[in-house]
Symmetry: C2
Subunit: 204 residues, 2 copies
């Protein structure tokens, strides 16, 4: 059975995975990009390469929320939005986008196809697991997508990077009483702490 | 001028410094004690000794909220509550307890006197700074006391210990738009990450 894994979920010390006021120009919200500077640093620590590699290894499909896919809300417009990542997105496998509004699949270069799932997170996971062909499924963002899967007890591995900045407001993943994980690995590089959590009580 | 310092503020990964349902039997709330296991571990890391020592060095007075002092809410009852710490509390200097209800000072063994301040956080800081006699003032808990001083821009140093557990609910320090700190030290021992933050823009 495919495992559902979250990787490189960058979170501020005050618990935000995106800043406030997300827009097309500022998809991570005000100051949200500060959450990811450690990934793009020229002198990034070797552990960061390792963590990024882990997030790609053994992954056969990705699930993401519509807000991670693009800035369009409500019904899809006339313009065909094909994601933030250009003609050859860095997935190279099927990507399942959660939406309330049906949309035909979009085939991109390099093996990425965006499929749009309008019947819920369980259906998306079932389709992604099937498409992954025996590999695992990676769960992307945004915050509400991760929160929904956590709350449903469907996440098998959760890799969080705690960035010691205070954003003051934005979107949280950990609220609504999410518990049931334990930390099995912890490492700090630069000022960022990388944590790997797994369910402390496995769902039956 | 005395600096106001917070030390060993243990916080869960989901941002809680105390669990829900605080009672006299469970002053840190449900599962709140898990936030402090790393302090009481027999095999605790040397850095923990260092951090505890830092929190005592150069401190001449302490401020705490009434909920940290005791479980009594509203007017003081007939029973004289003298704190959680027995006849010889581990402060050995003046302690200023924030309350809305006047109470005469309580002199304990070992140099600790509890003073009760009913006219606000600024008055408490002024009295504590004066009593500290040239040393710094340590700000204890609980969450709402720390939050009030942070929001007022009165905290000069904030030492947070991130414990990678999920409590699900409880009391947060970081909410209501608190920002303006930057991390200047970071270290992980065991699974706990110790962060030292200072104001990124000093109040003028």
């Amino acid at each position: 059975m495919a495992r559902l894994r979250v990787h490189n979920l960058a979170m501020s010390l005050d618990g935000f995975v995106a800043g406030p006021e997300q827009t097309r120009a500022d998809p991570l919200g005000v100051r949200g990009e500060e959450l990811h500077e450690w990934i793009f640093a020229e002198d990034r620590a070797p552990i960061v390469d390792e963590l990024i590699k882990r997030g790609q290894d053994g992954i056969g499909a990705t699930i993401m929320g519509r807000n991670m896919f693009g800035p369009i809300r409500g019904p899809w417009g006339e313009e065909t939005w094909t994601g933030w990542w250009g003609p050859n997105p860095p997935y190279h496998h099927p990507v399942f986008v959660l939406t309330h509004h049906p949309h035909p699949p979009i085939t991109m270069e390099g093996g990425t196809t965006f499929h749009f799932v309008d019947n819920g997170i369980d259906a998306a996971l079932a389709r992604a697991a099937d498409a992954a062909g025996g590999l695992d499924v990676r769960l992307g963002g945004g915050a509400s997508t991760v929160r929904q899967y956590l709350r449903a007890g469907l996440v098998d591995e959760l890799n969080v990077d705690v960035v010691p900045i205070l954003l003051g407001s934005g979107e949280r993943v950990f609220e609504d009483g999410i518990t049931g994980f334990e930390c099995v690995e912890s490492a700090t590089a630069g000022q960022v702490t990388h944590l790997r959590l797994v369910p402390s009580v496995r769902p039956s």
